[in-house]
């Protein structure tokens, strides 16, 4: 008999294990995949962004195509909470504010749509990095259509949905269960969503850092937040050891961008256009002047990280420079000679490459005129077919602001495609992408015609970088450039492709000699404890462009010194399989705000960037059928009744056990 029962159980187990081993409570939900979520960041005084409730926020779906359709649910007289799904073109500040003030709204889903073109979409401040800029900078609305929503504390979870099947699933469910007879919503089953984006940290950066530390009674130390940051990149045109006492021409750009939704930070106009221009300029300049010959200046290329969050990278460099420890504190060469660090006073001219797009008129922004700036302007104007126009007074938000904040006398210029307002209408948003930069990749590997169109952004950036490289050459050497070197438009084409469309591009394969994911990188700076792979790739690319070729074939092992780093890289993008040994003066420095390193830093002082990002567990979005109120009450009533009845029966059986069960042994058990 026992054998028989066990056999049955075993068979049942085997049959059951072949079916889907999913828990019943999970079977009630339909997970949605193509999601990106808004999350929480904090600065010294405030929290910004979104968080769901700890167990996820739920609400009844309301799918709309126009935000005006939302009035219907806002005016409903019931106790239900709703999660509207709106198309991305309706995701405006006005709509969000209207939803936030209503108690009927528990969350928001923004779905991708191709039906309308969006003329402008930027939720960054109208004056980015407002509180870290020089006085007067924000008298202009640089980011004209910026709503500032990125800097607000949004009390509901917001998700972005970019998978059309998932959007359709929500729409179908909404039409089937919700989109009729709204007055009876409370009495029937409805299609609902559960949004999970619970944020551990709250209030502000000092609070979450303090809570995460081991102070006082706090037994169960959890990490609440992390400082934003990554690494800056620097490379010099001439090896830094040869040019100890020289002044520097700094050529800089930024590497990071931002947007409201996690992992969707394309950053085409800012930073990729400027970044590619800098890399291309470096590559041409190295070919124009391969060796140091008694010039008055050296050139240092600097790429800043975390500039979207109150200039983390540039503030750090200025801080390190003022402590005389940039790029590396007291480092020595192999000949035991100490190389002097670069200080603010060593900057002869600072050139920042900001957003670049195809415009007839480029602008040179500067705060105060100086001899160096005038010289550079004349050179740029000559070498770029009178394309440049001077714009003095207030400079746009740029890394130069950090330098001028410390020393207003530094001669600095910002090269940009815009005058008083940005040309890019998608600053720091999910729409700052290749399409909106008018970038069309020319696939040279498949296409037999290897010609980039004359009116393309690639051609434009190549021209600008050739002119810029020529100007820097003439500034440094004080000679006229008579050579024929110019920027390689195919390389520019490839660089844009690397950062905007496909990380597994030829440049990355050449410098890193491995395969990458066939997708663009996310250009959000992210937290300092996790290094971004894109930063190291940009560094290697800059190293490749500014390095000296040592020999054909792989480098000898263990050659690296503090100043020189040796890399095995391909000869060129058209010859990926060749290996050559390159000697580069490129390295990384920390891009973490000094606020996190200074002891007892006054967090509300506003001197340094204080941005941190909350820790979270997971982002998820699920759809389910929410039962009606009466159904819920019935379920809990039945449960309670069964529970009470079970207790009653057990009590009864216990009391009557002597009658009910015949006892074999009548003697009581010994205590």
């Amino acid at each position: 008999m026992r054998f028989y029962v066990n056999f049955i159980l075993l068979v049942a187990l085997i049959v059951n294990s072949q079916s889907n081993a999913q828990r019943t409570k999970d079977k009630m939900y339909q997970p949605l995949n193509g999601i990106a979520s808004c999350f929480r960041r904090m600065n010294g005084t405030h929290q910004t962004g979104c968080s769901s409730a700890k167990e996820g926020t739920t609400g009844v779906v309301h799918y709309v195509k126009k935000s005006s359709e939302l009035d219907l649910i806002l005016s409903l007289d019931n106790n239900l909470q709703y999660i509207p799904a709106i198309p991305v073109n309706e995701f405006t500040k006005e709509v969000v504010q209207k939803l936030l003030t209503s108690s009927k709204i528990s969350g928001l889903v923004v779905y991708e749509t191709n039906e309308t073109t969006i003329k402008h979409f930027s939720h960054e401040d109208s004056c980015p990095n407002r509180y870290s800029n020089l006085d007067g900078t924000c008298t202009k609305s640089w980011n004209e259509y910026g709503t500032g929503l990125l800097l607000e504390d949004l009390s509901i979870p917001i998700f972005y949905l970019n998978l059309s099947e998932d959007v359709k699933m929500i729409k179908d469910c909404f039409i089937k269960f919700n989109n009729f007879s709204y007055e009876t919503h409370q009495d029937r089953s409805l299609c609902a969503l559960e949004l999970s984006s619970f944020m551990f940290a709250a209030i502000n950066t000092p609070t979450c850092i303090r809570r995460g530390s081991n102070a006082n009674f706090n037994f169960n130390t959890v990490k609440f937040c992390d400082a934003l940051g990554d690494q800056n990149v620097w490379a010099t045109l001439f090896p830094i050891a040869q040019t100890n006492s020289l002044k520097y021409v700094v050529v800089s750009a930024r590497m990071d961008s931002s947007s409201m939704f996690s992992d969707l930070v394309p950053g085409a106009a800012s930073p990729v256009s400027g970044l590619v221009t800098l890399l291309s300029t470096a590559q041409v300049l190295k070919r124009m002047v391969p060796k140091y010959e008694d010039y008055d200046y050296n050139v240092i290329f600097v790429l800043f990280n975390g500039e979207s969050y109150d200039y983390i990278g540039s503030q750090r460099i200025v801080y390190d420079m003022s402590l005389d420890r940039y790029p590396v504190h007291g480092f020595t060469t192999s000949n035991n000679e100490t190389v002097s660090n670069i200080n603010l006073k060593d900057i002869a001219l600072y050139i920042e490459i900001s957003q670049i797009s195809q415009v007839d008129q480029m602008y040179i922004h500067y705060k105060k005129d100086s001899e160096e700036i005038t010289r550079m302007f004349n050179l740029l104007d000559k070498n770029n077919a009178d394309r440049f126009k001077k714009s003095s007074g207030n400079i746009p938000p740029a890394s130069l602001q950090s330098f001028l904040n410390e020393d207003p006398e530094i001669p600095g210029i910002v090269l940009a495609d815009h005058g008083d307002t940005y040309k890019s209408q998608y600053y720091h948003s999910i729409y700052d992408n290749a399409a909106n930069l008018q970038f069309n990749y020319v696939n040279t590997s498949e296409n037999s015609i290897k010609v980039v169109p004359e009116d393309s952004i690639q051609e434009y950036v190549a021209k600008i970088s050739t002119g810029l490289a020529k100007s820097i050459f003439e500034f440094v050497t004080k000679e006229q450039y008579n050579g024929s070197e110019k920027a390689d438009v195919l390389l520019v084409n490839e660089l844009f492709h690397c950062y905007l469309e496909n990380a597994n591009c030829t440049v990355h394969q050449a410098v890193q000699r491995r395969q990458f994911r066939q997708a663009p990188f996310n250009l959000y700076v992210s937290v300092a404890v996790v290094p971004n792979i894109v930063t190291s790739l940009i560094g290697l690319t800059l190293a490749w462009f500014t390095a000296d070729k040592v020999k054909t074939g792989p480098c000898d092992p263990d050659l690296n010194t503090d100043i020189y780093r040796y890399f095995n890289m391909s000869e060129s993008i058209s010859n990926l399989n060749s290996t050559q040994c390159f000697k580069a003066s490129m390295n990384f420095t920390e891009a973490k705000s000094p606020a996190f390193d200074i002891e007892d830093y006054a967090w509300d002082s506003g001197k340094y960037s204080t941005w941190s990002e909350s820790v979270w567990h997971d982002f998820s979005m699920r759809m389910f059928l929410k039962p009606s109120k009466s159904h819920e009450i019935m379920t809990i009533s039945i449960g309670t009744t069964v529970f009470v009845a079970a207790i009653a029966i057990i009590l009864f059986i216990k009391r009557k056990s002597e009658v009910l069960f015949e006892s074999g042994d009548t003697t009581p058990t010994n205590c």
């Binding site: 968080s51 700890k54 209030i203 609070t207 009674f217 706090n218 037994f219 169960n220």
Partner: protein
């Protein structure tokens, strides 16, 4: 321990001991005392020590209730003001709740 098997004298000693111990910031001991000896103090037929036991039971009960009120008031105050009190409240916390 079974009160049924104890002498009345021992019961008094025990009740008194519990009452005294409760003064060392142990309101739960008072609560236990009040509940445990309630039958002895009020329901049992009169015996010599009962009057004293009754006294200790009453005072233990009052003490426990007072403690309960004070603790409840503090807990409500603390939970309501935890976020506003900032570092002070964090310093008093053993486990800091996530997300607020």
């Amino acid at each position: 321990m079974d009160l049924e098997k104890m002498s009345n004298e021992n019961k008094l000693d025990l009740c008194k001991w519990y009452f005294k111990v409760g003064f060392v910031f142990l309101p739960f001991i008072w609560a236990v005392n009040a509940i445990w000896f309630f039958n002895e103090a009020f329901r049992k037929p009169a015996y010599d020590e009962q009057k004293q036991i009754r006294k200790y039971v009453i005072f233990s009960g009052i003490g426990a209730i007072l403690w309960g009120l004070v603790l409840t008031a503090w807990i409500i105050t603390f939970q309501v003001n935890r976020v506003a009190w900032g570092q002070f409240a964090d310093d008093l916390s053993f486990i800091i709740p996530l997300g607020s």
